[in-house]
């Protein structure tokens, strides 16, 4: 096995590209990121490591704009993310320049995934160590979308998904609890999913909401705290309701 995992351009005898799989490992070690699509809103949430006291937390934005109507969050190597995001931003403007139309979410996802794939088939380079969650609205139909890409260069559309640390638990939670939501409900669902694996509190979560008319809006810490409090209250009420009838009987 040792001989087949050094170079990206070499398959192993049982058909694995080890470097790509190791890149997926790097993603699994990255901070959790979750995305939820509603009928008129799409939400991205990212786990935030507690900031060092002297660090200016505003300089570490994990959810970024690619264009007025497209945003991206990722899990994995953040330095690789910067490169990918830069290329995607350039492509968004280049597309506008050549065809006089903003990109669709699928187009830019395909572009990013294509870029990630290119680096799995070249000599002397390694794959990008990150998976991305891309959200946005179709510029003409206004339909919201959520896509995910990974280091191998595959991509697909999702109603809700998670990547990074403990993504399996988050995905299980979403599978159990997903329903079509809009507005505030979508935001709550995304935060509830993230709270499954993150200590609660506004300072450990970064949340951004995209709507068709207002574009991307980063939620303030106070707002997130308020929603978390709501969620905790609902959870407590549900617990109490479960216990109540049982005791009477």
């Amino acid at each position: 096995m040792a001989r087949y995992d050094r170079a990206i351009t070499v398959f192993s005898p049982d058909g694995h590209l080890f470097q790509v799989e190791y890149a997926l490992e790097a993603v699994r070690k990255g901070n959790a990121a979750v995305g939820v699509r509603g009928t008129d809103t799409v939400v991205l949430g990212v786990e935030k490591k507690s900031a060092a006291k002297l660090q200016d937390s505003r300089s570490v934005r994990k959810i970024v704009n690619l264009d007025n109507h497209i945003a991206l969050a990722c899990a994995g190597l953040k330095a690789d993310a910067r490169v990918l995001i830069n290329r995607a931003r350039i492509e968004c403007q280049s597309h506008r320049l050549t065809v006089e139309d903003p990109v669709t979410v699928e187009y830019i996802t395909r572009y990013i995934a294509g870029l990630q794939q290119k680096y799995t088939q070249s000599g002397g380079v390694r794959p990008f160590g990150l998976s991305t969650l891309i959200i946005g609205f179709d510029p003409y139909t206004g339909v919201p979308s959520l896509y995910q890409t990974d280091p191998s260069g595959t991509f697909s559309a999702w109603k809700a998904n998670a990547t990074g640390r403990n993504s399996n638990s988050i995905r299980e939670f979403l599978e159990k609890n997903y329903k079509e939501t809009h507005g505030q409900e979508t935001i709550k669902l995304a935060i509830r999913a993230l709270l499954e694996v993150v200590e609660s509190g506004g300072k450990n979560i970064e949340v951004a909401v995209m709507t068709k008319d207002q574009g991307l809006r980063q939620l303030e810490e106070a707002e997130i705290d308020a929603i978390v409090a709501e969620i905790e209250a609902e959870k407590a009420a549900a617990e109490a309701a479960k216990k109540g009838p049982a005791r009477d009987a």
Binding site: R61, N65, D67, N86, R89, I90, C92, Q93, S94, L97
Partner: protein, 154 residues
């Protein structure tokens, strides 16, 4: 040149937008003007753009500013500027009537005076004009001054 103008100004537009996404804040007017001049200068001795630009912008701290950028990459910050065959007439009117601290109404009035001069003095005067305003609320079309209305069927 029409082709150069479209190509060049759209290119500048998209690069200004890209800057904003990359850096989270918009380019200042001065920076955008210098960038534009740089692009013109780089192309000048190989494949020049035949485009003259008057760039108007509003920055929160600085207020409004106007830059005169011509096709051989001259850059100058000005209070009033004009390009084209009618520029001599316009500059003359502006020299006579401009004073600093004009209100929007006075400025529109001055623009109308210039349009009048062009219509009466210039042999090849264009029939229609559009007036745009750039201020703290962004750039917007303010009015048209049309002597030939567009075809209803067109």
């Amino acid at each position: 040149e029409i082709g150069c103008r479209v190509q060049f100004t759209e290119y500048i537009q998209k690069n200004v937008a890209l800057y904003q996404f990359r850096n989270g804040i918009p380019l200042t007017t001065a920076a955008a003007a210098n960038f534009t001049r740089g692009e013109l200068a780089t192309a000048l001795r190989k494949n020049p753009y035949q485009v003259n630009v008057l760039m108007a912008g509003y920055d929160k701290e600085i207020g409004p500013s106007l830059y005169y950028i011509d096709y051989i990459a001259t850059l100058h910050k000005v209070d009033r500027g004009a390009f084209g065959y009618g520029s001599y007439f316009c500059l003359a009117m502006m020299d006579r009537h401009y004073h600093s601290g004009m209100t929007v109404e006075e400025a529109i009035d001055l623009v109308d005076k210039c349009i009048l001069e062009i219509r009466s003095r210039l042999v090849v005067a264009p029939p229609n004009f559009v007036i745009k305003i750039v201020d703290k609320d962004g750039a917007r079309e303010y009015a048209w001054r049309e002597s030939v209305k567009p075809d209803a069927t067109a």
